[in-house]
Symmetry: C2
Subunit: 299 residues, 2 copies
């Protein structure tokens, strides 16, 4: 069964491979910022301000130490003093062209004293303008990767993404969803630790080819000032989700986490306008109509 | 003693007077959006996209009904089913020129079944670039208004503002503070309801002349692109405070409050950059050094 070093090294190489692929596609390089966590471990934050990716972060981290009480509560594992090990890769990319979607990916592994461990992860897409065919294609990529491991994974994890990436105060989903899963412990649906690791690796490896295809389809499309303004408003919603509703962000910011890593997800710029209403029948209005749960992009 | 209708009408006229003064100074008009609250009451949101005030909101509301359980918990008044009445004026102004500060004001009155009631309020200033003399002058205006009612009010309420307008994840105050007070019930420091009403009115009336003076001093100063970029980053911090830490915003968004009114405080645009560090000795670095508690702008 894979040990934490194997998983950690895999995540490091995943970060390397994704950065290399994005860098080549964008024609720009990442800047690396290595950091250490006072309580143990650290990470490699890599950021890009590119030609097509206006602001992006691809972060690897592997941290360990004594589990803070707040974290224990949040994980619902009681108040036991225990040590933990957590490693993962987190990505958010904000494209320059409003016709290219924002994307988010996270894969992670968590281990406690005494051998309890689990995997989590997901990929979700936030188009400023929803293209039905592309949203469907995106979901098909995720489904294909999920189906290799279990037929229930895609429908179950896409429903979890719908529930998670939701802004109750706007009655909108963040985007077209994707998949989201957490706490997959060895034995989950009959999969052992090696198989769950492979599943998480498969999701990690679905990221680059999928996003590069979406980038390629859209990056050279011309766009208008109105579309850019709409992009700023949609980025504003992204900020609202991350700062108000995202459990990881909230947890990190209120428990003395590493602020710059946590907020790497925020866009380069975002806008707000009082009670903005798109014109009836406009592309903006059409997108709003699709920002709801249970769109069933693929069956 | 003033009844809720008197207080409500006073807040309405305060909104009128402030809008008129800001409108004249800016050369632009407010657009009004009246709204009703399903459970009872409503408000008049007034927004400006002006020449000097890039985005501003001056909101009056008076709402009533049965106190939602979440609100009762948050007010620490137990789980009694009780009806409430709440009225107030809330303002946030985001100026176009980075050398003009952002300002926030709120004055409010709250009443429960059975006669319990209190006042709350405050004004605080968030300069993108802190000018020591102007920060001191701003605090002097507040102190003068407070001192008319009680010598302890200014020092006590400025300490409360320092504590409240603070971003733990950045280890920064939001700006240069101001005053903040809440739950002033009749009898507080020997003041009766009429006197507490007058105090709150005095704070409300300190707002327009103070901000117009700050606007006048700074609005025609020339500024650079770098200063504008810094303004976007400071606005990003403003967004972080409001969405992550502000109790009112959090409470409103998670209890089905009126989203557009609550988020009227957000800037027209805001920016984020990974781990931005201003140059040593720059005006930006000097401002950062002053964004801390207990600056004692006036003694």
């Amino acid at each position: 069964m894979p040990q934490k070093d194997t998983i950690t090294n895999y995540f490091k190489s995943l970060q390397d491979n994704i950065c290399q692929a994005l860098s080549a596609a964008d024609g720009s390089t990442f800047v690396e910022d290595s950091w250490k966590r006072p309580g143990g471990g650290g990470g490699r934050a890599r950021v890009i301000r590119g030609q097509h990716i206006e602001k992006g972060g691809v972060n690897f981290s592997a941290v360990h130490g004594v589990l803070p009480p707040a974290a224990a509560r949040s994980l619902r594992i009681g108040e036991l003093e225990t040590s933990f090990y957590a490693t993962g890769v987190s990505i958010v990319l904000h494209p320059r062209n409003p016709l290219v979607p924002i994307i988010h990916m996270n894969v992670r592994y968590f281990e406690l004293d005494g051998g309890r461990c689990w995997f989590g992860g997901g990929i979700d897409l936030t188009p400023h303008y929803i293209d039905r065919d592309q949203a469907q294609w995106f979901h098909e990529q995720l489904k294909t990767s999920c189906d290799r491991f279990h037929p229930d994974f895609y429908p179950r994890f896409t429903a979890e993404a719908d529930d998670y990436f939701y802004l109750p105060h706007r009655k909108e989903t963040r985007g077209v969803g994707g998949i989201f899963y957490d706490r997959l412990e060895p034995g989950y649906e009959g999969l052992d630790k090696q198989q769950l690791f492979e599943f998480t690796a498969a999701i990690g490896e679905t990221f680059a080819p999928t996003y590069l295809q979406l980038l390629d389809w859209n990056k050279d499309k011309t766009y208008t000032e109105r579309q850019q303004e709409w992009q700023q408003l949609r980025r504003g919603r992204y900020v609202e989700f991350n700062l108000v509703w995202d459990r990881g962000t909230k947890f990190g910011l209120t428990t003395n986490g590493r602020t710059e890593s946590i907020l790497m997800s925020l866009p380069p710029m975002a806008g707000w306008e009082y009670d903005f209403q798109p014109k009836e029948g406009s592309a903006e209005a059409e997108t709003l109509e699709m920002l709801r749960k249970n769109m069933k992009w693929v069956e």
